[in-house]
């Protein structure tokens, strides 16, 4: 169909040059710019995680002073949350795929999309500046009054970095919402949309509604530090817990900014790798919206041991439990979809299965923490650390990796070695469990987070955890190596190497600049597998 060289010309081909990339308005190139930037930030965040884990090898402070340790975990958190996890799936895979899945040439506002990447870079540079000028020690949560009165580190600059990066994510979300509402191809009704689009739509709602609140909150911290306009200042009668309310009004839903797009990825991968219509399409679609909405009603569970009223705590505790319902709906539907599907065990499948297992553990331990009474015991222990890493790393990053392995042939036009893909999935899964499994036990025994020294009897578990972290790191490094290798030496990918449905697989690999050679019209629902489609011969493996 696309025989001539001109027809095969992809978005990667022309125009070449740094300027053509830095000034591009093509959503696919912007996605690639994001992919490179978040990879750099991930490596940096990983570096600080390494510092933390190495320090915790022994019960005493050996490598880092208490001060440096504070800075290491703060920077790990700030970088990973605001500069890796929040943009990870939406700004890379979402940016790349949503216009294609909607059958359109680009996002509604290509220039704003580029602006969002520049804001991200500016925010990241400010944060790098903070690191260069000595680091930050408030924890990624910026809790007042320490962040306003106590800390001697450049909190205002860090807050500015987060503020700017926040606007980058607002712009991404805003572009997605308008695109999904106004740009869908003819025939592409809401219930024909791939679930990845639904999930990213729900994510965008959270970005739009939550991010401005954290923006104004960090701005207030900045005002208090620079102008002395003390809104949270206890000396003036201000309530530092108000900061926590405003902060978690965003930052709890932000957890769903991180995991919802990952859930969307998993929905695509499960249906694709099982070659089966997803079980309960509309339930999965609406559970994304339900998670987005319920996510706004539960922030108080971060304040159970603050001066928050115990009655409010009860309400927040009950609503927090409700989030388990839509999450369980998704998990059951994925599992049922794979059941009796013709599952092909290729790299993406390994990441999917890993995701479901880890997300399950992360979700169930979340119920422990939502329980008001139990949380009093577990607050600020390693149990919490383990729980949210099971969601953020075991969930969000596993899904991101799975998505990357699934769409890599489409994005780059190259195949990676499938064996290595499986190996790294297994390595990451094993390393992850070894890292964070022991932390549940440590937390239950009472080891508090954010301390650089601990009693001797906890050393075994901490050594296990650090050992796991090194395996985890090796897994990520391995992925980085063979994916980079594949860019240059990988086999050329066919248009549809997995033999799956979806608009993105109808166009060439990699897609042309305007995504399709002819404007698509959709006449069937997503994942419409009448019979198992024939696999093309150039399959990975």
């Amino acid at each position: 169909m696309h025989d001539t060289a001109k027809d095969r010309q992809s978005y990667l081909d022309a125009p070449y040059g740094v300027a053509a990339w830095l000034l591009t308005r093509d959503h696919k190139r912007i996605a690639m710019l994001y992919l490179i930037s978040i990879t750099i930030m991930f490596a940096l965040g990983g570096f600080f995680a390494t510092l933390v884990r190495v320090e915790l090898l022994t019960p005493r402070g050996d490598i880092l002073t208490a001060d440096l340790y504070n800075k290491a975990f703060t920077l790990h958190g700030v970088i990973m949350v605001f500069f890796f996890l929040v943009p990870s799936v939406p700004a890379t895979l979402g940016n790349f795929l949503i216009p294609i899945m909607c059958g359109t040439k680009d996002l509604a506002f290509p220039r704003i999309n580029l602006l969002s990447w520049y804001l991200y870079v500016i925010g990241a540079l400010i944060t790098l500046g903070v690191i260069a000028s000595g680091g930050l020690d408030t924890g990624w949560t910026f809790y007042t009054p320490y962040s306003t009165i106590g800390s001697q580190t450049p909190v205002t600059a860090a807050a500015l970095g987060v503020f700017v990066a926040g606007f980058s994510s607002i712009l991404t979300g805003f572009n997605f919402i308008v695109t999904v509402h106004r740009m869908r191809a003819p025939g592409l009704t809401w219930f024909r949309l791939p679930l990845f689009v639904w999930a990213n739509y729900a994510t965008s709602l959270v970005m739009i509604l939550g991010t401005p609140v954290v923006a104004i909150t960090v701005l207030l911290v900045g005002f208090e530090r620079t102008l002395g306009l003390g809104v949270f200042d206890p000396k003036l009668g201000g309530d530092p817990v108000l900061f926590q309310h405003l902060f978690w009004f965003y930052s709890h839903p932000a957890v769903y900014i991180m995991i919802l797009p990952g859930m969307g990825v998993i929905s695509e991968l499960v249906a694709g790798m099982a070659r089966k219509q997803i079980f309960g399409y509309s339930f999965v679609a609406f559970s994304s919206l339900a998670i987005a909405i319920l996510g706004f009603l539960v922030w108080g569970h971060h304040l159970f041991v603050s001066s928050q009223s115990i009655y409010a705590g009860m309400v927040f505790s009950i609503i927090s439990m409700l989030v388990a319902v839509p999450s369980a709906v998704k998990t059951f539907n994925w599992t049922v979809t794979m059941y009796k599907g013709s599952v092909s065990w290729e790299s993406p499948t390994y990441w999917v299965v890993g995701f479901v297992g880890l997300f399950l553990i992360g979700g169930l331990t979340g119920l422990f923490l939502a329980t008001l009474g139990l949380d009093v015991h577990l607050t600020d222990t390693y149990f919490v650390v383990a729980h949210f890493h099971y969601i953020m790393v075991g969930g969000a990053i596993m899904a991101f990796m799975g998505g990357l392995h699934f769409w890599w042939p489409k994005m780059t036009g190259r195949l990676y070695p499938d064996g290595w893909g499986k190996a790294s999935a297994i390595l990451v899964f094993a390393g992850f469990n070894l890292t964070f499994g022991p932390q549940f036990i440590l937390g239950y025994m009472g080891m508090p987070r954010r301390y650089y020294a601990y009693p001797d009897e906890w050393q075994v578990l901490n050594v296990l955890s650090t050992a796991g972290a090194s395996i985890l790191g090796a897994g990520y490094l391995l992925t980085f190596c063979y994916l980079t290798w594949s860019l240059f030496k990988g086999e050329r990918a066919s248009d549809n190497p997995w033999g799956v449905t979806g608009l993105e697989w109808q166009t060439t690999s990699p897609p042309p600049t305007f995504n399709f050679h002819t404007d698509p019209i959709v006449t069937e629902p997503a994942y419409h597998y009448k019979q198992v489609p024939e696999r093309e011969t150039t399959t990975i493996g």
């Binding site: 817990v241 706004f296 009603l297 922030w299 108080g300 409010a312 309400v315």
Partner: protein
């Protein structure tokens, strides 16, 4: 479907809304100088909500806009009330439990 999705509203409508907004501003100041006790805030906020609704419906054209726009506007204010409502559920119930020393 008409060619332009947005109806051209007559100047008369805009001027009427303008006059109403001015009258309400005068009213809120006048009411402000009277003391109705607890009702002061209620009156002031009711007038402000009325004025804001007039601006949203007429000046911002939501009256003639798509249902989607209406949903977006309502959602915006709804989320504001989630923030206020759940936030105040803490502050208003704090005194319920007798904490010694407070």
């Amino acid at each position: 479907m008409s060619h332009t999705p947005h109806t051209v509203v007559s100047v008369r409508v805009y001027v009427t809304i303008f006059v109403l907004l001015m009258v309400f501003t005068g009213l809120t100041v006048l009411a402000g100088y009277q003391d109705f006790g607890f009702a002061n805030t209620v009156i002031a906020l009711s007038i402000a909500v009325t004025k804001a609704s007039l601006v949203v419906l007429f000046f911002m054209g939501v009256r003639h806009n798509t249902p989607l726009t209406k949903v977006v506007v309502i959602a915006g204010f709804f989320w504001l009330f989630i923030l206020f409502g759940l936030g105040m559920s803490d502050y208003l119930t704090r005194p319920w439990i007798g904490v010694p020393g407070r």
